[in-house]
């Protein structure tokens, strides 16, 4: 089967999935007892007319099913509606999604470029002290709660003053030159990236180690050794390729867990990403905003998995489209 056909088939498979997700999440959100207009109602300068207008605009006067249909209709048209604060939801998402992608992109890049070599090193030193140390370190990395680690790094940042304590840009960002802007953003990214990197590195390193150990026991590796190939050639030419293939599937999962893990980290670092957006939206019961960011999160997750599957098909043509 050609690649294009495979991609199209996979995309068609995900559409009913997204539909189901939207139904589940819409009804969940509408169950929330919080009044989405509570803040406006408390504001004495807001008149009853404005309130009525808001109720109409957000569709709150209609039954839940009608609300869902209205939401779905406008969602399909690409109109995501307005937040309770009056801003366009799509504008907010446009501002936040790139930030989250930037963060996860950096994290995935670093975890892969560090985790894979570390996994190989651990597998080649199986049961030796180096392997033991790496195993202990990965256990520690897996056990730190992300928000707690973020807090510890915040203390570090406050005490040393080496890193900014939150956000993505400094107050004088707009006055900086092009390179100044880039360094400023990178400077703000260091701490959140360290937190997420530490947490996702451990899993990747372990997986790589396990895969390589499995492959090293297989018959074709034994055969390659018996043939008289040098150990370097056996490992890097024969074993490694097959050990890395399953890792590609993991990329999709990693993306998913990063989206979830990032929410708490973004919250502690006041990082303007999707996770913090949905958190704020949930607290205010801003239906349109929660729905839109939830759908975007899901779409990103599904796309991440799809991308991983396509990559896997590229590196390993033997994979069948499930």
């Amino acid at each position: 089967m050609n690649l294009l056909g495979y991609v199209v088939k996979r995309i068609i498979q995900t559409l009913p999935l997204l539909f189901l997700v939207s139904i589940i999440s819409f009804f969940l959100i509408r169950l929330a007892p919080v009044d989405p207009l509570a803040e406006l109602k408390l504001n004495p300068s807001i008149t009853q007319e404005t309130l009525n207008y808001e109720v109409k605009r957000l569709g709150l006067d209609k039954p839940v099913i009608v609300q869902y249909c209205l939401w779905l209709k406008s969602f399909l048209k690409g109109d995501l509606g307005y937040c309770t604060t009056g801003e366009k939801v799509s504008d907010k998402l446009k501002e936040r999604i790139p930030n989250t992608l930037l963060l996860t992109g950096f994290v995935i890049f670093f975890t892969w470029s560090v985790g894979i070599p570390l996994g190989i090193v651990a597998a080649l030193n199986w049961r030796k002290p180096l392997d033991r140390i790496l195993t202990i370190m990965s256990s520690i990395g897996m056990a730190i709660p992300s928000f707690f680690f973020a807090l510890l790094l915040l203390i570090f940042a406050v005490k040393t003053g080496w890193f900014p304590t939150g956000g993505l840009t400094s107050y004088n960002y707009s006055e900086l030159g092009f390179w100044g802007k880039i360094t400023d953003i990178l400077h703000h990214l260091v701490l959140p990236v360290i937190v997420l990197f530490t947490i996702s590195l451990s899993g990747l390193q372990r997986q790589m180690r396990g895969n390589l150990l499995d492959v090293l026991q297989s018959d074709y590796v034994k055969f390659a050794r018996a043939k008289g190939l040098s150990e370097t050639k056996v490992i890097y030419k024969h074993a490694l390729r097959n050990a890395i293939n399953p890792m590609v599937t993991l990329l999709g999962f990693e993306f998913a867990s990063l989206l979830s893990g990032a929410a708490l980290t973004e919250y502690v670092f006041q990082y303007p990403g999707l996770g913090r957006l949905i958190l704020e939206a949930v607290m205010k019961s801003d239906i349109n905003l929660v729905m839109a960011s939830l759908m975007m999160g899901t779409i990103m997750l599904v796309l991440g998995n799809l991308l991983a599957d396509i990559l896997l098909k590229l590196v390993d043509p033997a994979v069948e489209a499930a």
Partner: protein, 365 residues
């Protein structure tokens, strides 16, 4: 999908043996036993009751215990109270030790009445201090509550909520996966698509949405049970898919066909004959997933969506540490974070060993 080891071949005794044989796993087990003991005996060990609060002593630093007195001689352990004063230069409230009066530490002394394990009435506390004295081993929080006592009471929630959630999510996932795999066809298709839909929502997003649905005016017991339910609702979907895969192969075995032949109902066949076959896997998977529930609860409470004040949980105790001034000058507020870390680490180490014992081919450790 990772291939499953054959879970029917391992012996349950060998799991415990392998945990005790492994040096790290044994220590982890001891740590967990100590943590759970401390938490269950909280009302005995902690000198202050659950609702104690001393508004005069907000953010009081940890009390120092002296065993060598001013003359340099060994003495019975004693402590000094802290005195609050206002520093006019820095405009901040500070505490200094009030050295005018010593307070002896008392052991197994009579104090506040409580019920151990909820039904044994007692009034002795492991340690306490003479009348008028205050002994805050790990300082106090914003409301002047003893941090050490709250850590113990909070642990009761943080360390048990994961197990309770497992008791809901695993039966749910087993029955769901069992029905889906056993009936197959359209039922299977629809049920698995629903499970996949739940799995494709980023789990933490789903978690906070579910938590935000909870009404505010609930008793703490109600809230606790609902948080358990929410945590369970996140975890079952992925698990049910694995069970379904196992059921697909089990349902072709002779004993299932025999059960059908003697006219057992579908549900009876599933619950009495098929699901018990998956039990070994289920038990291992349960042990491995305890730490993730602990982390989820603490994350949720940290955001203020989980366990609410005045109840303590390690997550909501860390909420106070979100302010810069607190983490810089009041580091004792970070202790719940270390405890979460230690508990999760211990569970992970034991989980790794169990995985190795169950699956001899796995080289994860």
């Amino acid at each position: 999908m990772a291939k499953l080891p054959d879970f029917n071949t391992f012996n349950k005794d060998s799991i415990l043996k392998s945990v005790l044989k492994d040096e790290f796993a044994r220590r982890a087990l001891y740590i967990l036993i100590i943590l759970y003991m401390a938490v269950f005996l909280a009302s005995f060990i902690s000198p202050y009751p659950k609702d104690y609060s001393n508004r005069e002593k907000a953010y009081c630093p940890p009390s120092k215990i002296y065993i060598i007195n001013e003359e340099g001689k060994l003495s019975f352990p004693y402590t000094y109270n802290y005195k609050r004063f206002f520093d006019k230069e820095t405009f901040s409230t500070k505490y200094i030790e009030d050295r005018t009066h010593k307070y002896k530490v008392k052991y197994f002394s009579k104090g506040e009445k409580y019920k151990l394990f909820g039904f044994i009435p007692l009034n002795r506390h492991f340690y306490d201090v003479e009348n008028g004295g205050e002994l805050y081993l790990l300082g106090t929080d914003i409301n002047g509550r003893d941090n050490f006592s709250r850590l113990l009471y909070g642990g009761q929630i943080s360390l048990t909520i994961g197990f309770l959630a497992l008791l809901v999510s695993f039966p749910l996932g087993m029955i769901y996966g069992g029905i889906s795999g056993y009936f197959g066809g359209k039922t299977d298709f629809i049920m698995m698509r629903i499970a996949e839909a739940i799995m494709s929502i980023p789990s933490f997003y789903l978690l906070i949405i579910l938590a935000s649905i909870l009404p505010a005016n609930m008793t703490s017991v109600q809230r606790f049970s609902l948080i358990v339910l929410i945590l369970a609702l996140i975890g079952w979907a992925g698990f049910s898919r694995v069970v379904r895969g196992m059921v697909l192969s089990i349902k072709k075995r002779e004993f299932v066909i025999a059960s059908e032949a003697i006219g057992a109902s579908n549900m009876r066949t599933i619950i009495h004959h098929i699901l018990p076959q998956t039990l070994s896997y289920v038990i291992v998977a349960m042990t491995l997933s305890v730490p993730s529930y602990i982390l989820s609860e603490s994350g949720l409470s940290f955001l203020g969506l989980g366990i609410q004040q005045p109840d303590a949980s390690w997550g909501n105790m860390l909420k106070e540490a979100q302010e810069f001034i607190n983490i810089i000058s009041r580091p004792w507020l970070l202790t719940p974070g270390f405890l979460i870390f230690v508990a999760v680490l211990a569970f992970n180490v034991i989980g790794d060993t169990i995985r190795d014992a169950v699956d001899p081919n796995s080289k994860e450790k």
